[in-house]
């Protein structure tokens, strides 16, 4: 059950500052022991994640940053690894990052027991390298993943959404869990009603997102109905595996494409070259991308980090948009939707039928 709280702006405060104050309160009142938040790096040229227990250091924090730091969910993996001290952490992440956190928590990579997930409404982010332009006040278009995002507002299992959509003054804190509610109460937020304006704004953002995604999905399917397009777009891939490294839900220690099976010995490479005539080096670039799609699409939250990290500007988001929702729909699954949903490859239902047999 969503319960709303009010967080008014103090005099002269903007929304960023209001959230900073909220986080300071949380640390000072002992609602949590530490926070993981986005902050401006040196010279305001980029956004990084900051982990701190010191309320005084929160000045650098930019809660509504127009760019997304790297590795937020992965940081939580590290911070909550087994045997760590059970400090309570408030993690302020973008809605898509939070959904990735949920995916990782389902597969034992993150332990959410001592974590409070906070997520501000997100209007989209620009490429990290363009952050300084935004910071300088220039208008920079958001990343294409954000243009087709369906989840600008965090829902369950995020403990608390920090709402701005449909909220005139101040912030509306919408909690989705007992922990979120307790947190709101601990920092002294006042309970309030979820306003119609808020509800409407959230609905609208979802509708708009669905529409944008739907359009992109249709365009992607059209575009990639020809294998040539896909292969052509992949041809500048350097197989540096950045996409895999930054992907929050690609959690293997080492990708299987690095194993011996896919990295033949000198002898077998020569054999293979003989067999095929030619080999692209390093081998298995397309294999890597296709396998990654098959492995990751069920958990992919369409954050677009993969594409942002790609030095060759391969339009991965466009490629994934054509299959992401379709694949998750097969299993009535939605990445990050609920902690109750089991990851699709570990379960099945006897009644399901994808009509793939004999077809």
């Amino acid at each position: 059950m969503a319960i709303a709280f009010k967080w008014d702006l103090a005099k002269g405060e903007d929304r960023d500052e209001a959230v900073r104050r909220l986080l300071r309160e949380a640390l000072e009142k002992g609602a949590v022991d530490a926070v993981l938040v986005p902050a401006e790096g040196p010279a305001r040229t980029g956004i990084v994640n900051m982990f701190t227990t010191d309320p005084g250091s929160l000045d650098a924090c930019v809660p509504f940053a127009k760019a997304m730091a790297q590795f937020g969910p992965q940081d939580l993996v590290r911070l909550t690894e087994p045997g760590g001290s059970p400090i309570r952490i408030a993690a302020l992440l973008k809605p898509c990052e939070c959904r990735a956190v949920a995916e990782l928590a389902k597969i034992n990579q993150i332990d959410l027991e001592h974590v409070i997930l906070l997520s501000p409404d997100c209007e989209g982010t620009v490429e990290l390298k363009e952050y300084s332009m935004v910071a300088d006040g220039q208008a920079v278009p958001v990343r294409n993943a954000c243009k087709i995002c369906r989840f600008h507002v965090a829902r369950e299992p995020v403990d608390m959404a920090i709402g701005t959509f449909g909220v005139k003054d101040g912030l509306m804190l919408v909690t989705n869990s007992d922990e979120g509610q307790a947190f709101a109460e601990a920092i002294g937020a006042k309970a309030t009603e979820l306003t119609d304006a808020r509800k409407k704004a959230v609905e609208e953002s979802i509708e708009k997102g669905e529409e944008a995604y739907g359009d992109q999905e249709a365009r992607s399917r059209e575009k990639y109905s020809d294998l040539g397009t896909f292969l052509a777009e992949l041809s500048p891939c350097i197989k540096g595996m950045n996409c895999q490294n930054v992907c929050p839900v690609c959690y293997c220690k080492e990708c299987l494409l690095y194993t011996d099976a896919f990295n033949p010995t000198a002898g077998s490479l020569a054999d293979k070259a003989k067999r095929r005539g030619t080999l692209r080096m390093p081998v298995e670039t397309v294999q890597f991308h296709l396998t990654r799609m098959a492995h990751v699409m069920t958990a992919c939250v369409m954050c677009g980090q993969c594409q942002s990290a790609c030095p060759s500007d391969i339009p991965l988001v466009e490629m994934y948009a054509g299959i992401n929702r379709r694949i998750q729909d097969l299993f009535d699954y939605e990445a990050g939707r609920s902690m109750e949903d089991e990851p699709p490859f570990t379960c099945f239902s006897e009644h399901e039928n994808f009509e793939v047999v004999g077809d």
């Binding site: 690894e81 045997g83 597969i107 220690k253 080492e254 002898g267 490859f345 570990t346």
Partner: protein, 596 residues
């Protein structure tokens, strides 16, 4: 073509069997062997009639000596049929089982097409694939474990009692867990069991049938010092595997943890409930199942302390018109099971004859599809019943309608090929037999598969449950059977268990999953996808850094080697010996044909 030497290869002996003359006409194995022989690349190909003769083993031993072969590839038979034979053959020359590959040229290659060239080409691809398999295989030592010596028996019917008794007699500690408050099971609910040893109910036998000298005696089982009886008890959880099972048993007021080396499943089975077959008026008091007939006879006996005539339930009248309906909810695609219950014909014939003896004026008829007596002696039993006046009518009764205190049966008589109706005043349904409720849960706990019809698979031909799991399914728990077979099962299981647990160490099968710590991230997806609970996540500490991490571990005694965990693990942290990524990827490359 002068090939580059593969660094990871073994010396391979390729044996193309010229044993199938018909096949030889389509694929000349001798010339194929000549073509594939490539000593430089450590492929030693031979096709020789000696491979099909009595001196095969000697010939192979010579070849292995000559070529120093480390692996054998056999072209001809299929793994499914001849795998074990050839692995044994290889073991004679010291080649381990995972270095033996069979290429099913007979089954899956030669006869598939009329084009000789195509068949030969295909044979070469399949052989190449097998050669690659051994070159990329993983060597693994066979795991051995020490065995606990006690045994758990679940179910105290005749089968379970026999197993418990024999095992205890061999000097083993036995825990006998029985769900109900008493031992004996089904057989002890029967007034008489057939075939009798020429004994008559009013004869000279000092024992009642239920304590027949051929079944284990309850008092002996109960008083054996090595048998611990746990009545009104349930097995709650089973961990571990052969040689080392940990069992949690709940008895009234106490819960125990038992450690045993093997488990006997003797949980019997249950009767089909005819309720769903409304057309037979199963609700009618005079339409009874054979178990109810037993109760009637039993009651009658207790009341009168003699063989007083049977009385029917509705009004206590002595029935004059008794009809047995065979195969109700058995051998039926729509109700109960398609299987035969194996004992109903025996039972009905015996019981009908006894009833006829008891009530000479009554009509006693058996409606049957076929008479099935699965043992020597049944025919005599059957003839005697016919001679004593029991009527045998072939055909399935499709309807029973109550009529004025009596019952009207409609059926098609197969012998005369016409629909017939007939009156009865007591109908006995020989109902089918189904798995005991809870069998699926038990199988899950044991980590053994169910058969398609819901019984625990009793003995699978290739993966022998008997020895691989230390789980022995006996008596009706493995499907319907008569008492003597149930008892014999118990005996056999006791013998097998004794033989297995007696070994100093138990060899586990080599086809099991293994987790690579370096690659595992502890996501637990494999744990979820293993149907046999062979996998768990374990928290570990890196001894060098003190860092804690989670890893999946395999309990090799529970792993069936299905490879499902392997396909689930995105990190390919799991390998299944014989089906490693290296092997499969190479096979795929070869099978795909390269970029043609």
């Amino acid at each position: 073509m002068p090939g580059l030497r593969k660094v990871d290869r073994l010396k391979k002996l390729l044996l193309l069997l010229p044993c199938d003359e018909e096949m030889e006409k389509l694929l000349d194995t001798r010339s194929l062997a000549e073509e594939m022989d490539d000593p430089e690349n450590w492929v030693f190909a031979r096709s020789d009639p000696r491979l099909c003769g009595p001196d095969r083993s000697d010939y192979i031993a010579d070849l292995v000596k000559e070529t120093e072969a480390q692996a054998i590839i056999v072209g001809g038979p299929s793994d499914r049929t001849h795998g074990s034979v050839w692995r044994q053959e290889a073991s004679f020359v010291g080649i381990p089982p995972d270095r033996v590959e069979l290429v099913p040229l007979v089954q899956q290659c030669v006869y598939v097409t009329d084009e000789k060239d195509a068949a030969r080409r295909r044979a070469k691809i399949m052989i190449e694939s097998a050669l690659a398999r051994v070159d990329t295989g993983i060597d693994r030592a066979v795991e051995r474990v020490k065995a606990m010596q006690a045994v758990l028996v679940i179910g105290g019917g005749v089968a379970g009692m026999q197993a418990a008794w024999d095992l205890a007699d061999f000097g083993r500690q036995v825990y006998l867990v029985e769900r109900t408050g008493e031992l004996g099971g089904r057989a002890h609910q029967l007034s008489r069991t057939y075939p009798t040893q020429d004994c008559k109910p009013d004869g000279c036998c000092p024992q009642s049938c239920r304590d027949c000298q051929f079944t284990p005696r309850i008092d002996l089982v109960t008083s054996h010092p090595l048998i611990e009886l746990l009545l009104e008890s349930e097995v709650k959880s089973i961990k571990g595997g052969i040689g080392g099972y940990q069992i949690e048993v709940h008895s009234p007021e106490v819960s125990r943890l038992l450690e045993v080396g093997a488990i006997v499943v003797a949980t019997g089975n249950v009767m089909f409930d005819a309720e769903e077959m409304g057309e037979l008026s199963p609700w009618h008091p005079d339409v009874i199942s054979f178990l109810e007939l037993e109760k009637l006879i039993d009651w009658q006996r207790k009341e009168d302390h003699a063989w007083a005539p049977l009385r029917r339930p509705s009004d206590g009248k002595v029935p004059k018109n008794i009809h047995f309906l065979q195969c109700v909810g058995s051998r039926d695609e729509h109700h109960g099971t398609i299987d035969c219950s194996l004992v109903c014909c025996t039972y009905a014939v015996g019981q009908a004859k006894d009833l006829k003896d008891m009530l000479p004026d009554a009509t006693v008829a058996i409606h049957y599809m076929d008479m099935r007596g699965p043992y020597r002696g049944f025919e005599r039993h059957y003839l005697e019943a016919q001679e004593s006046g029991v009527l045998f009518m072939r055909g399935r009764v499709v309807e029973i309608e109550p009529d004025n205190g009596n019952l009207i049966l409609s059926y098609e008589d197969i012998d005369i090929g016409e629909p017939v109706t007939m009156e009865a005043d007591l109908v006995v349904l020989s109902v089918g037999q189904l798995p005991t409720p809870g069998t699926a849960e038990l199988a899950q706990m044991l980590g053994v598969p169910l058969d398609e019809d819901g019984y625990i698979g009793e003995d699978n031909t290739t993966y022998s449950l008997w020895d691989r799991r230390g789980v022995y399914v006996v008596g009706c728990a493995a499907g319907p059977r008569g008492i003597r077979y149930s008892v014999r099962d118990g005996r056999e299981a006791a013998l097998s268990i004794d033989a297995v647990l007696r070994r100093v160490q138990i060899e586990l099968a080599d086809n099991i999953a293994e987790v690579d710590d370096e690659r595992c991230v502890g996501c637990g997806q494999c744990v979820e996808s293993c149907e046999y609970d062979a996998k768990t996540l374990e928290e570990r500490t890196d001894l060098q850094t003190g860092r804690k991490y989670r890893d999946a571990i395999v309990e090799p005694r529970r792993c069936w080697g299905c490879g499902n965990c392997h396909a689930t693990c995105p990190s390919t942290a799991i390998s299944l010996s014989g089906f490693s990524d290296d092997q499969l990827v190479r096979q795929v490359e070869i099978a795909s044909g390269g970029h043609r």
